[in-house]
């Protein structure tokens, strides 16, 4: 980005100050997970994590990491710079946006955060994992039959390897990605799994997909889904967006 943070600044008594040369990248990432009215902002020494949840079944997280100091990026002519400040509990989140000498100050009232759901998705429990170039999935996602209530994901060490399926009014559709395809960067499937996820929950992930260059798709033994998107912005900085989703129903494993 680069995003720089300080845990405390002198006179202002802020507990968080974050600065960005160009707010556009942050804005794009946040738009990618804005499918609900509320988000949880979590600031750590490593960076910002923004969480949005839907009906206790879906969770989206955007990670904006801190960059090492000393890296200077030339601001574009029409770039908007951002300074985000927070005084602590009870204070609003204050954004200072500057563009062409004009400063806009936004104070956003904060609320009691709810504890984000812990999906207990850990890498040791991962059954199947693929990493794809986003290009290949973008096409499929843009064509997804929205009359289908679910998106079915099949992952298997054997045919069809990686398959997306929909069951809509016009019929069933399958998108197959063979394990030796150019688009497939990593293929680690240990057992055949078929899981269904509510289309309405996954559809918002299309925005994150659009920004990304790579996607990792993982399922664990419970059928929980983890989608991780690698977003590289114009400055070459890297951010992550991830989605966790509960399976819609049990499907007999073939």
């Amino acid at each position: 980005m680069p995003l720089s943070t300080q845990s405390q600044t002198g006179g202002d008594n802020y507990v968080l100050v974050a600065s960005l040369d160009n707010v556009r990248n942050l804005s794009n990432i946040l738009k990618a997970i804005t499918f609900k009215d509320h988000a949880i902002f979590n600031a750590t020494p490593n960076g910002l994590k923004v969480t949005v949840e839907d009906s206790k079944c879906l969770q989206a997280n955007a990670f904006i990491q801190v960059n090492l100091p000393g890296v200077y990026h030339q601001r574009g002519l029409m770039a908007t710079a951002l300074r985000m400040c927070y005084n602590g509990y009870g204070y609003p989140l204050t954004l200072f946006l500057e563009e062409g000498g004009v400063v806009t100050v936004c104070k956003i009232n904060t609320q009691e955060p709810e504890e984000p759901i812990d999906f207990e998705f850990c890498s040791t429990n991962v059954t199947n994992k693929v990493i794809l170039q986003s290009e290949s999935l973008k096409e499929a996602f843009s064509e997804l039959d929205m009359t289908s209530e679910v998106l079915q994901i099949t992952m298997s060490p054997s045919q069809p390897y990686f398959r997306l399926s929909t069951f809509g009014n016009s019929g069933n559709a399958h998108y197959d990605y063979p394990k030796d395809s150019d688009m497939m960067e990593l293929f680690q499937c240990t057992k055949t799994q078929t899981n269904r996820y509510k289309m309405s929950l996954l559809k918002p992930s299309t925005k994150a997909l659009a920004l990304s260059c790579k996607v990792s798709v993982r399922t664990d033994s419970r059928g929980f889904l983890s989608l991780q998107y690698l977003v590289r912005n114009d400055d070459g900085q890297i951010c992550f967006v991830e989605y966790y989703c509960c399976p819609d129903e049990e499907v007999e494993e073939e």
């Binding site: 062409g100 004009v102 400063v103 806009t104 936004c106």
Partner: protein
């Protein structure tokens, strides 16, 4: 030179045209008849420079004016077709009803011009109602300030409109202006600096501006949509744009472009 369609943004509501000896005024009142309601005002000054020919025979020798009401859309449509005209004549005529007849001579490939005539129906406003159409006088303002680039202002106001229906405009004699909105969830303030304040002198500036503390802001809360409407006029490309604020009462916006001034009064809301 053909009259340009500045009245275009007066939309569907009726627009009144007041033709006087020196001034051609187009005016739209926003709804009610009372003075002081928000409205779009346009005025042509120094008509000698604007028009090649100007003949007027008013209602009476002591009231050398004509007051007409017209649907702006009709007028702007006619003007649009005359944009490339060599010459345009506007006459008040009587066809099946009183009309503004617009005769445009359009260029063709041959030596013979093509003439297009538009008859725009108008209502003649009788003299007894003229007080309703009286031009509001320049208010006794607290602060006068040049506006920031209208395009920038429009961007800011358009985005603020997403968050709130009401906006506070405040400015001081130090060339500073703030646009503010506030809701339960968020407050947003955009700060403009170094805008400059118009040097009102003997023109009739209120005496109080001389002794006013330059840091103190005069502010007025208005319906954001009315401000948005005014900002659509930025396409006129004014040479000067300024704003007079009467604290908690009214915002008076003025665009100047050559011979034409566009004035907009936005009253305060509670």
């Amino acid at each position: 030179r053909p009259l340009r369609g500045q009245e275009r943004h007066a939309c569907q509501e009726k627009c009144s045209i007041i033709i006087r000896r020196r001034i051609l005024g187009l005016r739209r009142r926003n709804g009610g008849k009372k003075r002081g309601r928000g409205g779009l005002r346009e005025r042509g000054r120094k008509r000698a420079n604007f028009f090649d020919e100007y003949q007027l025979e008013g209602v009476a020798p002591d009231a050398n004016e004509i007051c007409l009401e017209v649907t702006p859309e009709n007028l702007s449509r006619a003007l649009r077709t005359s944009q490339n005209a060599k010459c345009v004549k506007i006459k008040l005529t009587k066809k099946h009803c009183p009309c503004l007849t617009l005769v445009a001579e359009l260029p063709t490939l041959s030596s013979v011009s093509r003439v297009v005539t538009h008859d725009i129906p108008v209502d003649v406003i009788p003299r007894r109602l003229w007080h309703d159409f009286k031009e509001p006088s320049m208010p006794d303002f607290d602060v006068s300030i040049y506006l920031p680039p209208l395009k920038t202002m429009k961007n800011v106001v358009d985005r603020m409109k997403n968050l709130s229906n009401f906006l506070v405009m405040e400015a001081n004699l130090n060339g500073e202006m703030n646009l503010k909105i506030e809701t339960d969830l968020v407050s947003v303030t955009t700060h403009f600096k170094d805008l400059g304040n118009p040097p009102w002198g003997d023109d009739g500036s209120p005496g109080r501006s001389q002794s006013r503390d330059p840091e103190v802001m005069a502010h007025t809360r208005v319906d954001i949509r009315k401000l948005q409407q005014f900002l659509m006029g930025q396409q006129v490309n004014p040479s000067k744009a300024m704003c007079n604020i009467v604290h908690k009462r009214i915002i008076h916006l003025i665009l100047l472009h050559e011979d034409v001034s566009l004035q907009y009064f936005i009253p305060a809301v509670a």
